[in-house]
Each structure stands twice: as C-alpha cells, then as structure tokens.
C-alpha cells in the first residue's frame, strides 16, 4: 500500500511529495499523541507499582530510581490478593456464561416469536438495566439476606445477573435480527428443532455479537464495586475491586500496593480484549448497523 503510494508520488509534480510527507508526518504525530494519551496512565500505573513509597511521593519521575517488587509482595503475601483474583474470576465467568445463555434464549424469543406484551417485556428489560445501582443496593441486600445468599459469591453472581441480563438481551436482539429467518426455516425443514435452529444456526452466525456481549458482561462483573462492598463481608469472599478498596484504610493512600493491585487486576481484562479484539470490533459493527 505504502509502496504503491510512493510509486504514484514519484510521478507527482514537485511539491506534492513534500505535502505527502508532511501529511504522513502529521498523521503519525496525531496517532502517537493518541497512543501516548491512552498508554500514559497505564505506564504510570505500572512504574508506580515498582517504586519505593518515598520515591512515589517525593520524586515523581517517568522511571523508578530503584526498582522494587515489594509492593507486589505486600499484595500477594500480606493481603492475599490471589484469593480476590480467584473470586473475581469465578464470579465474572459464572455471570458471563449464565447471562449469555439466558439472554440468548430471551433475545431469540423476542426477535422470532410473536406473543402478547412482547414489546412491553422488551421495554421493561431495558428500564431494569437503566435503574441506577445506587438506588438498588439496599433492596438487593435485603433480598439476598432473605434468600440466605448474603456474603456469598452465589449471591453476588445472582445480583450481577440482574444487571447483565437486560443489557445482554437487548444487545443480542440486534445481532439475532441480522440472521435471515430463511436459514432457520431451511434447517428446520432438514429436521432441526427450534433449539437446534437457535444453537446450530443463529448462535454461530451471531458469534461476533455474542463475543462482544460476553466481553461487556465479563468486564462489568469484573469491575463492579458498590454491590460487592455492600453484599460481601468476609475477607475470603472479597473480589478484586473490593480487595483493592480495602487497601485504603485511612487518609494516607498506599499508592505502591494499590498500583500493583491495579496492574494485576487489569491483566485478565487486557488479555481478554487482546484475544477477542477481532470479534469485538466485528460484533460492535454488526450490532450497530444491522440492529
């Protein structure tokens, strides 16, 4: 591509090449600035996690004068952060799997079947998602206590589903609508049941959308703090954001361990996005233009 442009520019009149070079330089300068803008906070987080406390406060610099892993030692040995990461993984994977499965059925039903109050159900689901968490945390904590699910990962999974299911269902409706009805009908003529048509035709064809919804759901569950703060009491049940929050115990912030925890907490999400970025872009585009 660049070679073709360069060949074309050789034949260009004098001055055009200069403009082309200037244009390219400007493009890369803007891209570099955008990358720096995005990466600087991540870089700052990473290097702060490697600094001594005194250096963090006294000598704000782009590179540590003395590299230390003590912040990570505090995190893993003193604060048992591995347990929090494990809890977050359990909750996030469980919420994602359950949410995608149930919302696939719900979205398919709304897209393909005709029944009374279908539109109303659709709107109620959306309204449920739009209700602020801060209004719901006390009613939800009462509900969990009455169900005997307070202070447990099961309770947390159930509560997170109340937020993830509406969004997942709403998003998946858009993707499912993009699958031609005729494909399912042909499959059913060939002997597939309705479930077979859903799971063998619609779901595979909506894979990018399902991947995007899964990533959104996983990220939401992974990052959630307020409900975890209210519902979880025991140290052994704390999720990663909650464990990070518990590092702040006074008006002096332990920046080193906090940043180390932020780095460790970011890794699963970074890996997930890196692996699924292709599906993510494809899924978002499909949902936006065909929904």
């Amino acid at each position: 591509m660049i070679g073709r442009n360069a060949a074309r520019d050789d034949a260009a009149p004098p001055g055009a090449r200069g403009r082309w070079i200037a244009g390219r330089a400007l493009t890369y300068a803007v891209l570099l600035a955008a990358v720096a803008l995005v990466l600087l906070p991540i870089y700052w987080m990473a290097i702060t996690s490697l600094k001594l406390p005194r250096e963090i406060y006294r000598v704000p610099s782009l590179w540590p004068q003395t590299i230390t892993f003590n912040n990570y030692r505090i995190l893993f040995e003193d604060k048992d952060f591995v347990l929090a990461i494990r809890n977050s993984l359990i909750v996030s994977f469980a919420v994602t799997l359950i949410s995608v499965f149930i919302s696939s059925l719900a979205a398919y039903s709304m897209v393909r079947f005709r029944y009374r109050f279908r539109g109303l159900f659709g709107r109620v689901i959306l309204f449920a998602y739009l209700t602020p968490t801060s209004l719901l945390f006390i009613p939800l904590s009462i509900l969990m206590a009455r169900l005997g699910l307070g202070n447990s990962l099961h309770g947390l999974i159930l509560v997170y589903l109340t937020f993830s299911l509406p969004l997942s269902t709403w998003l998946l409706q858009g993707y499912f609508r993009s699958v031609p009805r005729e494909l399912e009908e042909q499959g059913m003529i060939d002997g597939l049941s309705r479930f077979g048509a859903l799971f063998r035709i619609v779901v595979p064809l909506s894979a990018p959308g399902i991947a995007a919804v899964s990533i959104f759901t996983f990220t939401g569950a992974w990052n959630e703090l307020l409900l975890a703060l209210v519902l979880i009491t025991s140290e052994s049940q704390r999720t990663a954001p909650l464990a990070l929050n518990y590092l702040i115990t006074s008006d002096v912030l332990p920046w080193g361990p906090l940043m180390a925890g932020a780095v460790v907490s970011s890794l699963p999400l970074m890996i997930l996005y890196f692996v699924a970025q292709h599906y993510m872009v494809q899924g978002m585009t499909a949902g936006s233009v065909k929904g």
Partner: protein, 440 residues
C-alpha cells in the same frame, strides 16, 4: 451549652493518684456479674479497619482467642471505616447487623435515635469504675441517654487533629517551639514558604480535613449557632476576624495549590511529598512516614492545634463499640466488649493504633508514656481537647452543617471567588440556618 473540660496538671495528677489508690485498695477490676455465656453460640463482630495492620490483626486475634477461651464461635470481620456507613445502612435494612461493631460517634448518634442499639450502661459503668473513670470530654460527648434512654456506645479510642510541623526547616528559620496561636502559625509558615514547599498545608476543600476551619473560626470566637443550637450566628465580628486571617495567609500564597479541591488525602500527600511545612492530621501521616520515609519522620514534630483569641478549640472524635438490638447473642456481645476494654489488650492496641486513651488509667499505659510523639500528642489531645462541636451544641443541625462543609465553602467564596467577607458570611448564614430549620 456544651461543657468545656480543661485538664490542669493538678487535676490530672489528682485523678491519677485517685485511680492508683483505688486499684491498690483492691478493685483491679470491678467486673460485671458475668452472665452465663452460651457455649457453642456464635458472635459476629465488625471491627473498624485502621491504618495499622498490626492493630487490625491484634483485634481479630483477641476476639478469636476470647471466643476459643469461652467456647463461643466468633467471626471477626474488619470493615473499612471509609465504607462503614454504606455497610451498616444495608445491614440495618436487611436485618443482618453483627452482634457487636465499631463505629464513629456520628453514626452511633444517628442509629441510637432510631433505636438500633441496646443500652450498655452496666458495661460502661463497670469499665469506668475499674479503670479510673472516663475522660470527661469522652463521657459527655458519648452520652446517648437523652436520645436512646441509656448509653449505647462504649468508647475505646479518641482521634482528633494534631499539628505536624517540619522541624528541620522551622529550626533553621529560628522557630524551635510550636506555634501557640493561628497568627504565630501563619508567621512561621511564611518564614519557610518557598514554593514548591508551602507553609500551610491546611485543606480548604469540601472534605473532613476542611472542617478543621470550623475549629479555627471557633477559636476566634465565631460560632455556628446560639447556645440553644437553633439560631445560626455565623455572621459576626469574630467570624470576620477569622476570615481576615485566612485571606491574609491566602494572599501571601502560604497554601499549596489545589488545597481548595483536595480530597481527604490531599494534605497528607502534600506533607509526604515535602510540599507542606505544617498540616493538621490525626497522626496517620506520622505512622506512614515512620515506615515509608524515616528521614521525614525524624524531621517531624507534633503539637496540639494553635489557639485564637478565645483559646484552643481542638475537638475529639471518639470511636465506640455498640451492640445492635437485633443481636442474637447480646450477653456474649457485651462480654466481648468488656473483654476488649481490658488494660493488657488496650495497651498493646494503642501501641499499634493511632487512638488516644478514653479512660484515666490508660494515661499510665506504656503506649502513652513510652516516648512515641504521636501517641503522646493523642494523650495530650484527650486531656486538653474539647468535646465535639464545642463551643457549639452537637446536634443534628450541626452534624448536617458539618457534612455539608458550610465553613470551608464560605472560605472558598472569599479566597477563590473573591467575595466580600460580609457577602460570604451572609451566604453561609442563610444556608446553615436552612439546615438548622430542618430539625426544629
């Protein structure tokens, strides 16, 4: 009107002697007639998570050991004090409160009015009698008898503000003694003010640290409300005098940039970053500096807050333990709270934590006589400090005004928006009166 309690040396010595005599005469501990604790029953305890990991661990270990010794199953959970309100609000609503918990005076008063806690007068009297009596400001400020029909909280520690100063810089500038007045503080701060090091690391923002300005205003004679605690009296000559002091210091650029928007950690970070010569803090900065920046720790000295024309106003903030009415094991919860007041445990706890004592005999603890400057400052605070809100009345209106940061906001009008002092006072007066009127 709230009573101010001055502790003269004679009074302290007299009380100490009386306490020692009482102990010598036999009452090592006037324990409650211990109710039979139900073996195998369970007690859940929510402790207040504080800056010191050592203190947190000690508390959990002590609770668990008490449980093991008494055949009671214990669950000790440390709750982040920054989130106690959300946690307790949800627990009250869902009826999942623990059997005993640590909480601040504000929250205790609020929930006591709602009838959430059991009266603990017997435990309070027993502990007080055994350990030389409660410090007067602690006793008066934590008395919930009028609103809850009895004492619902057992104090276990006191925090408040100390003045931290950079002795290394101030000594070089010729100031070897701490400032005793706010005017002196401004003079000393001006002498070492060389940006990026600023003299006065005091918050003027809408956070708890910003409310230190209420104490400064009160020490100048300014008041939030009248003695009945109903009519707001912010606009006065005394408040004007206080605002002149702040404005003069601001105009001399003694405050670090951003101090009108600092969060709760702003002043601490400025001090730890070497950007402030003075800050008012509970002592947590000192503890942090001890492990993270020994050089700064050595260069730091502690004293009580300076005073104004009307004397020193340095409010204490008691921390308490309470037993919810919903407790399924109240006798065991009360026994646990009494156990946690035992001298051996409290001495070790105070050595690791950043609380001042609440009982007269605790002043003799090694923790407070061992030469630790922060703990000595906290002892000084409880002996010379004032009850919360003093000279104002600590009521619902005051608490609401406090949580709405009316005084820091008034100061911001003067230093940021450039308002005339009277106009700023008028706005604070009207806004605060509206708050007080809600509770008439």
């Amino acid at each position: 009107m709230a009573e101010k309690h001055h502790w003269t040396r004679r009074r302290v010595l007299g009380t100490t002697m009386a306490g020692a005599a009482a102990a010598a005469l036999g009452g090592k501990r006037a324990a409650l007639a211990a109710p039979a604790l139900q073996k195998g029953s369970k007690v859940t305890f929510w402790g207040g998570l504080i800056f010191s990991d050592k203190a947190n661990k000690l508390l959990v270990d002590t609770v668990n050991k008490w449980g093991a010794d008494n055949g009671i199953q214990t669950e000790a959970v440390m709750i982040n004090q920054n989130e106690t309100v959300q946690k307790v609000s949800a627990a009250v609503a869902s009826n999942t409160m623990p059997d005993a918990l640590d909480l601040s005076l504000d929250l205790l008063l609020l929930l006591s009015r709602q009838g959430q806690f059991l009266p603990l007068d017997d435990v309070y009297d027993s502990i007080g009698k055994a350990q030389g009596g409660w410090y007067a400001p602690v006793a008066s400020s934590t008395d919930t008898s009028k609103i809850a029909g009895g004492r619902t909280g057992i104090p276990f520690g006191v925090s408040g503000n100390l003045l931290l100063r950079r002795d290394d810089l101030l000594s070089k500038a010729g100031f070897s003694k701490p400032p005793t007045t706010w005017e002196e503080l401004a003079q000393q701060a001006a002498a070492v003010n060389k940006p990026p090091l600023f003299g006065l690391g005091l918050a003027l923002s809408n956070v708890g640290d910003g409310n230190v300005q209420i104490s400064v205003m009160q020490s100048y004679g300014g008041r939030i409300a009248d003695d009945a605690g109903k009519t707001v009296t912010i606009k006065s000559d005394a408040t004007r005098e206080y605002l002149r002091w702040v404005k003069a210091a601001w105009d001399k650029k003694l405050f670090p940039p951003g101090n009108t928007t600092w969060d709760g950690a702003g002043d601490n970070q400025a001090y730890l970053a070497g950007q402030a010569a003075f800050i008012a803090n509970t002592g947590s900065v000192g503890i942090a500096a001890k492990s993270q920046d020994p050089e700064l720790y050595k260069a730091t000295l502690y004293s009580s807050l300076p005073g104004g024309p009307k004397g020193v106003v340095s409010p204490i903030a008691p921390q308490l333990r309470a037993v919810p009415k919903s407790s399924k094991n109240p006798d065991a919860a009360k026994a646990l709270i009494e156990h946690l007041a035992q001298p051996a445990f409290m001495n070790a706890y105070y050595e690791a934590a950043i609380y001042g004592p609440v009982l007269q005999d605790q002043a003799k603890f090694k923790a407070f006589t061992g030469g630790d400057p922060i703990l000595a400052g906290l002892l000084d605070l409880v002996q010379k400090g004032t009850a919360p809100a003093y000279p104002d009345v600590f009521n619902a209106g005051y608490a609401d005004m406090f949580n709405n940061f009316m005084i820091p906001k008034m100061v911001q009008r003067v230093v940021i928006d450039g308002w005339d002092l009277d106009k700023a006072m008028d706005e604070a007066q009207v806004g605060t009166q509206a708050i007080y009127d809600k509770y008439k």
